[in-house]
Symmetry: C2
């Protein structure tokens, strides 16, 4: 199973931290390897000329409430960083260097309520921070992001199981159905609709 994420996304945080339906729990429960892919969400948005949800004021207001509401329902601690949104580049490059820092970085971003840029060095240390400026680290993140776009990833978090791409922290139950061989989707019917030429919306 592949898991694509950006620290900028509180939904990626909610997915990652979920003890029952998070990618680590699902991979362990179904005995499949988990491959994590830090990617730059802004790169996906730029590919399609879109704004992120936190860049549209009324959508940002709903997003804040929706994330806090679902964190409360799932029993996951959440404290929005200040300022929010924030630039996630350094965090993503750190995750490209080592998957072991993902937990600490998600916790800094979404459970501390702190200024991320100010507090990041004390979480990972000066040596790791210096590595985020290395050209090969920058290139690795760009490669991951380009590969994700090539594979059809358009948002975060995204799970891919076999050929099935599933987007959204609120679709973890669907990911589990796919892993369990219990997906109710009629693949042939869906493929027929997807293959039709696109109509006009406006």
């Amino acid at each position: 199973m592949d898991f694509y994420f950006d620290f900028i996304s509180p939904y990626a945080y909610l997915a990652w931290m979920n003890p029952r339906t998070g990618p680590r729990a699902l991979a362990a429960r179904y005995g499949v390897p988990l491959v994590v892919h830090p990617i730059l969400f802004a790169g996906l948005l730029e590919k399609h000329g879109q704004l992120g949800p936190a860049e549209i004021p009324p959508k940002r207001a709903f997003l804040v409430k929706d994330v806090m509401r679902h964190a409360a329902l799932e029993g996951i601690p959440v404290a929005f960083p200040d300022p929010h949104p924030f630039n996630p580049l350094a965090l993503l490059r750190l995750a490209t260097i080592s998957v072991d820092v993902i937990d600490a970085l998600f916790t800094l971003a979404w459970a501390s309520g702190k200024d991320i840029a100010e507090n990041l060095p004390s979480v990972v240390g000066a040596e790791m921070m210096a590595r985020t400026r290395e050209p090969e680290v920058k290139a690795a993140l760009k490669r991951e992001t380009d590969a994700a776009i090539a594979r059809g990833v358009f948002g975060v978090p995204t799970f891919i199981v076999g050929d099935e791409l599933i987007w959204g922290s609120d679709r973890a139950a669907d990911v589990e159905r796919v892993l369990a061989g219990a997906d109710p989707l009629d693949q042939a019917a869906a493929a027929a609709v997807i293959a039709r030429p696109m109509g006009v919306t406006r």
Copy 2:
């Protein structure tokens, strides 16, 4: 309770048709009046310069699967119209004239698998079709859309209960929690985050 929708959205269809958590079921269960608002989703997108989900090819592919999967899980019939996406203007204007046609129009759009433009006249009749070209009908839809934008509606379907705006067919359980007085959201904490000046994402 207010319900904002556009026939273009299969998620609005799934919300409308849901026998347990649809707007009609929720309004009846909690004894609140239901006010339905047909609005032009493309108008919301234009306001923020955004594309719709069906206008981004990989997102459209996921959307088709996601809608068919959740229709199967909820036991709601679904058959994508051909062509898809389609121009929903005539359907929206018809719903502005009379709420009684909403069921028939949603069924034509999302459960018939037919070409909507071709089959619409036989569903509503020539007299109703003629009315969709009246200036005051066109103006009514534009008024509804502008009023929705002014109220902070950014997507469809949207429910508003009191001052609480909730977006998405997959958030009907949250709408029910609000109606039941059991919303777990810490409103003061959310308001404090929303009021902060926006940071920079990229």
